[in-house]
């Protein structure tokens, strides 16, 4: 259960090797944290990283997870609720879809399967269970890239746009149930996943994103940008005529 400070007792980090996911957990209040579900392809490695900042009293429950194996998702979600109420689930699994060993179509399939299909599926399953307990928050990592298609990241952007759309719709359907979805839309974040890419304007470290993500959870708002100024950049991006947008989005 959450306490008056919005400090959770049980949290699940799905995609627990994600730098952003770990930063969110790091920024969260830990004083009350009894259980953290570490859901990852390599949960042991993820748990080792989390142990560096979580208090020793927090029990880390390692859960093996392969995003593309959607048939296993239900059993994974069952594990997250086996020990009692789950207060917050962070769905941070994601790929950029720019694997040089794969062609464009294969990369698109990869990004869609992890960023959209697996993440949205898990979000729906977790939301269903949270509805039964009458409370809970799910935070998903969307992206600024979903604002408007750009040549250099439309595959990634489209997969995040799908997840973002689903999350907004699900959040509406959950109104009045005690369960809610938070949608975090980061811009370019310095992580292991992006270290080979050129930085974009308003680039931030994952620690900054983590703090903003926790602030979003506490605020009860649905959508948050990291950094917050991207909210206004997104608005401008949406309104720009195509000819101008093409020019400024070329990198």
């Amino acid at each position: 259960m959450l306490n008056a400070f919005h400090s959770p007792q049980a949290v699940a980090l799905i995609g627990a090797t994600s730098d952003i996911g770990q930063s969110i957990l790091k920024a969260m209040p830990h004083d009350n944290l009894d259980t953290c579900f570490v859901v990852a392809r390599d949960p042991k490695r993820a748990a080792n990283s989390l142990q560096e900042f979580l208090p020793s009293r927090t029990k880390l429950v390692k859960v093996n997870f392969q995003a593309e194996k959607t048939q296993s998702h239900r059993a994974i979600v069952d594990q997250l609720f086996a020990e009692g109420d789950l207060d917050i689930a962070i769905i941070a699994a994601g790929v950029l879809g720019n694997n040089p060993d794969l062609d464009e179509a294969a990369n698109a399939l990869d990004a869609m399967s992890v960023n959209y299909v697996a993440s949205a599926h898990l979000m729906l399953l977790v939301a269903e269970r949270m509805k039964s307990q009458g409370h809970g928050q799910i935070e998903i990592i969307s992206s600024f890239a979903q604002t408007r298609p750009r040549v250099d990241n439309f595959i990634y952007g489209s997969s995040k746009a799908g997840l973002d759309f689903m999350a907004r719709g699900l959040n509406e359907s959950l109104n009045g149930t005690g369960v809610s979805i938070c949608i975090l839309r980061p811009g370019f974040v310095r992580t292991r996943m992006t270290k080979f890419l050129p930085e974009a304007p308003f680039t931030v470290n994952s620690d900054v994103v983590g703090k903003l993500a926790v602030k979003l959870l506490k605020s009860g708002e649905t959508i948050g940008y990291a950094p917050p100024i991207l909210k206004w950049v997104a608005l401008i991006f949406k309104l720009l005529p195509t000819s101008i947008f093409r020019k400024i989005s070329k990198r």
Partner: protein, 444 residues
């Protein structure tokens, strides 16, 4: 059943549950006996618990309002009262018969069921003990749908004492027999004294307990937090102390103003609190006969005063620490100062003996209650640190006010928790009675 969203009085925790409003005892019994949901059931009265004691997220919340019976026994000072009745209603009905409950809390807007389930206390604790001292019988609805009468002594006394202070987790209290006291008129002979620091305040509270039925101090939580304030002492007006103006049986109604709903804006900041507290500290002191309502329930003059803290709500941090730990009180004030936790409500009192209830809060020592805005930076860590020191000093937190205590502190603060759990499991083997607080603090 309809879904309702509720909060505790502090407005920090919200909960959506299904509200069950029984129309008869039979309907209630049938419902409780046949209830099967894993999210359980809790009873609520007037929702004056500050945190999540009366909340049951995803489960069922039974509204006790229909338990509204009030029967005075002929030629005795005993009343049988339904637990949905408010203290204010009981007080007014009693005063018409020149009677009064011996223990009343700072607000009249608590239900009698809540008063028993929290084993509340008042300004008279050093003389009367907590509310359970006047409870001579309770009628309890068990999780299996059976109803039993329980008494403080004899067979079933363990169930009685597990229910008193038991936060509604042993069953639903349907009615109670209360032993009232005789009251000449609804007035109190009050004497207020201004004190300039904590030491003076503690000394005056200690020395006043011998001569006054009611003692309490308002402590200024602003400025230099040195513990200045106003000590209030009072005795019921008797035939001897009554004046010509006295009016037996008639309660003088104070004006009660609603605090407007202004969309979650907080009026609490160090400047507004400093100004209010300065005025309150300097106000003309009361010396003489005062309406019992104004003395016992000063905050009831403003309805929904909890809105003053805005949408993010507030916490009431109330603890008791044994005598000899006066330095801890000063340490708490210093901590509040460091946090910038300015507040217009700080109350200090010296408790007398505790009650036999397993989870009853009062025990001999000093109790300090502080209202604190919930949004302050580092507040959670600071209060956790104070809790840890409280455990080392044999102190405890008042659970009915709590919305943030760490579960591992509960067995230390309430050493009879295991004993209570065993009785509770015997009374409710299915674990049907549950609240958000019982889940958060792992009480059951």
């Amino acid at each position: 059943m309809r879904k309702i969203e509720s909060t505790g009085w502090g407005r920090t925790l919200r909960s959506i549950s299904s509200e069950f409003e029984p129309r008869s005892l039979e309907e209630l019994q049938e419902y409780v006996g046949g209830h099967e949901s894993s999210r359980g059931v809790i009873v609520h009265g007037l929702r004056r618990s500050y945190g999540d004691s009366s909340l049951n997220i995803g489960g069922v919340s039974i509204n006790a309002a229909f338990l509204s019976g009030l029967t005075f026994h002929q030629d005795t000072e005993m009343v049988t009262v339904g637990t949905g009745v408010s203290m204010r209603t009981l007080e007014r009905a009693s005063l018409e018969r020149q009677l009064f409950p011996p223990v009343v809390p700072g607000t009249g807007f608590v239900s009698i069921g809540g008063a028993i389930a929290a084993d509340i206390h008042g300004k008279s604790h050093h003389i009367t003990g907590s509310f359970s001292s006047c409870v001579k019988r309770i009628r309890l609805l068990y999780a299996d749908g059976q109803i039993r009468d329980l008494y403080p002594q004899g067979p079933g006394a363990d169930h009685f004492w597990a229910t008193v202070g038991g936060l509604g987790l042993t069953g639903m209290i349907l009615e109670a027999d209360l032993q009232l006291i005789q009251m000449h008129e609804p007035s109190v002979l009050v004497e207020e004294t201004r004190v300039n620091n904590l030491e003076e305040m503690l000394g005056l509270l200690s020395s006043s307990d011998e001569n006054f039925q009611h003692t309490v101090a308002w402590i200024d939580l602003s400025g230099d937090f040195r513990g200045r304030g106003v000590v209030g002492k009072g005795n019921y007006v008797t035939k001897n102390s009554a004046t010509k103006k006295s009016s037996p049986g008639k309660i003088k109604e104070s004006a009660s103003l609603p605090f407007p709903n202004i969309g979650g804006i907080s009026f609490i900041n160090k400047y507004s609190v400093r100004a209010f507290n300065e005025i309150w500290f300097r106000k003309p002191l009361t010396k003489g006969i005062t309406s019992i309502d104004a003395f016992m329930h000063p905050l009831d003059r403003i309805q929904n005063w909890n809105r003053i803290y805005g949408g993010r709500g507030f916490l009431q941090y109330q603890f008791v620490v044994p005598e000899g730990n006066e330095d801890f009180l000063a340490h708490v004030l210093a901590t509040m100062k460091d946090l910038g936790a300015a507040s217009f409500l700080g109350v200090l009192k010296k408790f007398g003996e505790g009650s036999p209830a397993h989870l009853s809060f009062p025990k001999p020592g000093w109790t300090l209650a502080l209202d604190i805005p919930a949004h302050l930076d580092n507040l959670e860590q600071a209060l956790n640190s104070l809790d840890s020191q409280l455990c080392a000093r044999d102190g405890r937190i008042y659970l009915i006010k709590d919305a943030r205590l760490k579960p591992e502190f509960v067995p230390v603060m309430y050493p009879r928790l295991e004993e209570w759990r065993a009785i509770r499991n015997n009374m409710d083997p299915r674990g049907m009675w549950q609240s958000d607080q019982s889940r958060r603090l792992k009480l059951c």
